[in-house]
Symmetry: C2
Amino acid sequence: MRNTPSIRGPVVPSRGPLRPLGTDEVRVTGGFWASRQRVNGEQTLAHALEWMDSLGWTANFATVATGSGSRERKGREFSDSEVYKIVEAMSWEHGRSPDSELDARVDALTAAFAAAQAEDGYLSTSFGRDWQRPRHSDLAWGHELYCTGHLVQAAVARTRTAGAGPLLEVARRAADHVCERFQPDGTGVCGHPEIETALVELARLTGEQRYLDQAALFVERRGHRGLPAHEFGWSYFNDDVPVRKATVLRGHAVRSLYLACGAVDVAVETGDDDLLAAVAEQFDRAWARRTYLTGGMGSRHQDEAFGDDFVLPADRAYAETCAGVATVMLAQRLLLATGESRYADVTDRVLHNLIAGAIGDDGRSFFYANTLHQRTPARPWHGGERLDVVGGLRAPWYEVSCCLPNIARLLASLSSYLVTADDTGLRLHQYASCDVETALADGRRVGVEVRTSYPEGGDVAVRVRRGGGRWSITLRVPGWAAGAVLVVGGERRPVAPGDVVVDRDWAVGEEIRLELPMRPRFTWPDPRIDAVRGCVAVERGPVVLCAESLGEHDLDVLRVHTGHEPEQTGDAAVVRARFDVPADASWPYGEPPARPGAAVALRLTPYHRWARRGPSTMRVWLPAD
Amino acid sequence: MRNTPSIRGPVVPSRGPLRPLGTDEVRVTGGFWASRQRVNGEQTLAHALEWMDSLGWTANFATVATGSGSRERKGREFSDSEVYKIVEAMSWEHGRSPDSELDARVDALTAAFAAAQAEDGYLSTSFGRDWQRPRHSDLAWGHELYCTGHLVQAAVARTRTAGAGPLLEVARRAADHVCERFQPDGTGVCGHPEIETALVELARLTGEQRYLDQAALFVERRGHRGLPAHEFGWSYFNDDVPVRKATVLRGHAVRSLYLACGAVDVAVETGDDDLLAAVAEQFDRAWARRTYLTGGMGSRHQDEAFGDDFVLPADRAYAETCAGVATVMLAQRLLLATGESRYADVTDRVLHNLIAGAIGDDGRSFFYANTLHQRTPARPWHGGERLDVVGGLRAPWYEVSCCLPNIARLLASLSSYLVTADDTGLRLHQYASCDVETALADGRRVGVEVRTSYPEGGDVAVRVRRGGGRWSITLRVPGWAAGAVLVVGGERRPVAPGDVVVDRDWAVGEEIRLELPMRPRFTWPDPRIDAVRGCVAVERGPVVLCAESLGEHDLDVLRVHTGHEPEQTGDAAVVRARFDVPADASWPYGEPPARPGAAVALRLTPYHRWARRGPSTMRVWLPAD
């Protein structure tokens, strides 16, 4: 089907088996994500702006606009991108929940961007002026095109939620400059992919072929070792192997995932099925071999990179929050391009574990890295010293704070990830209480009301609010939900994981129900994942549970009794366990094992709730007895 | 006892329960270490000099001596230290095996150092000239005092092997400048400890109290967060907690170990038993909780640092070679200060696994990091691109090549680590075929001939060559050697791990024998070491074995049958094992386990021999069935 470019969502392919619904067509009305969206709008946006104002990142635009080198530019070379990302988040939020203050702030920041933009469209506060390094003199690390990509995405969000205006003009001029500078017979890619997916979306929005062509060029140019050698290797930049020849995501996780997003976008718009298949295979392999149970990607600290297959240490797991956001972005693109609901399973897992865990209850603190094992309680932060990204407590800010605006733009646009339309009706991919209304391909308007306590509960009720007559409602049965039951017209029938299509003559007011089994369950790792051999995790629905200790237990010596299934309690579980008494030897090898402690009932907690009650130790993977 | 400062060894405390023997008193005559010493002298020294010449590191001294900024200084800010370290190695080697070429090269380099030295004694090729950063303007990262420390150690080696000369003069002037600049009422420590232990040794050599005082000051000054904050935290520099208050080695492993060496030296020379006890406790705890089976220390890549207790991932284990050298340095100091033979156990383990593994057969290649698990075969290096320090193949050089000259100086002075004298006789700590002769405390000259095939074999024969009459020979029974037998006068008796003293009236020609059990054995990890839970290692004598595959096995799916003890074959072992067939799922969690493969006999190999036949996969820790 062909889609209109004005759909209110971050990714609107011009064709594909599924049409995304905009944030005006799906409105989250309550539950798990509604409260997070509310906090995002009420707290996170303001918090991020306050920090970026106080650090001088927003003021950089005015600073450089004055043309004076006497006032120092603040922040890292990519700080512009954080401002653009928060403008994108504000745009989605203003679209979701109109707010004149947000609106005015977006306009004011847009004016600052415009003032800092050069006559020829180039826009960066870091490069190009007399007292700065020359434009594009450091493609590997300068992040100029990366920043421009975020500017473009902000403009897309603004245009789709508030109509064309000055931000779109700024972005188009910047994009035009990129196209001219990096034209077909030129060379060069950005060390950090991002411009690719942004340019395709701008092409979708504006209908301008040149943006798509430039994005396709950037995708094809990468992988030929055009960037300078670095100790992390060319794979860090994904510049080691051409995109269509690679077999797995690798290198810097966020770079790799953003590039894959751009490649899918290019493939969809150009009908390049080989490229689409190549990226899907890369993602599928990374998902099968390089992903944490929480959906986190990228295990290495040193280069924020994917490890080799099955190298997934729980302790000091990096699993950057931005990589989680990027995984949701890529999964959505693959879902829209292929119609395969397993990509919605990906989003479900990443959202309910990594993303839900990364942001603090107050919306003003966040994790940069998302470990699966905290051995020692974090020291609370009192300001002053630099924050370690693996501190074990959500921090208000980091020197590099890409993650918070990234979460903010995802949450503000979240409703566009929940439901799509296909040729015959609606497809529900993510379960949240929401009201949905859209026009089907044949022009009929249909609407449903979804009510659920997911992920705490497994009951999903879908009531037809509009659109009597025959059309279909397709429900995703998550991969973990063996034993799910569908109730249609009072009739219960078991449904297997995958898509279940209910294609019938609807009467307005009619309700169907999906019952997902929410028993907590043991989950065993592939034996090739050395780091968690001999351990078991407990999951409940899409939610990974963990053991957390505020000092009452030493989780280093935990042993879980796996002969007894975990029992549900609230939205979590209790397992039978013991705490061993270790042999404290002078050498930790060759000694007899620890003495078994007495049996206890150990209450687990959802992973996304850990470290919310203060410094604690935590483990997702529980040593099995 | 009080020792003379002229003993030919790198560490000669003025007092303590043990007196080290010099390289002239203990000569390795054959076997495992003799061949490595020979290759070190014949190949490694020349190889390192060739690289440092070709990279311009040696020429830096002449470059800056001309006073011209027009010629660019080469290498990192600490490259002087590599030149000093190789001069130290050359000095020990010339002492061990006189060589006029080596001698002349040391003199020539010494002349270059002298020419580059400022009038006031300051010596660095990186700082202080018009076109360079000011002296001591970057104590955290500038490495000036670190370099001076290595200069001093080189001068100590040269003086103890060839007598006082111009290198000692250069070093004294540099050390005097350090004492003046960093005098008692001043502040400042170097970001990389090293000067502390060097200054104490210079004090021992020269009898100058000021060097000892300055070293003591540097030790006391550290730990008060005087260095600037860094994202790795103050612990990286060991500047987080005063040395005498810390409870464990932490932060950057080499920095931590070098500092500990200096602290022990200061403690011994000043009679500061509290400081000695504090450092011993820190090392003991690090050995018990933060050390790999190979004796490697420092598990983190990002900051080359110790991880938390029991965080010892085998895969991408960092275990820097320099940290191994530093562990031997510290263990030797603790052995000499305490007389406790468990510190000789430490040296035994580090030497026969980490150090023996780090250097290539040709003496012209080496590991920087020493992983315990290689999942994918390394790509051979063909020049051009930067070498990853965890490449899985020994490389000829790295951008930071501290490790090779560090191994070289250790191997060239190795005989000084084997034997000591105590009040009543000789103590044999490390077993290598060697000839020993020295004077006891009462002036009597005694000598023994040690013949052994250790570590391949467990037989150690000690024949008295000189010194009839009553004196003692003390033999170390390694911690792993339960079931050892001592044969004295034809009589066999079991001896327990620890020291066994044979105190008797010797006749010249008389021989005693120690028989160490060399059956390969399974070794289990402390259950708190998550990374190797469910795995077992195989050791034989002091040697850690490993499974290595050049493609014939997929070690990711190995399972070892632990119901059957490993069987010896040659100097290694065979275990019963199987290779499972993994379930190749789209998601690596929650699936049924792999299908068991057929039983095979798997031949293991000494860890120190891995990656010598080409790119391979390897694992020390073998998943147990």
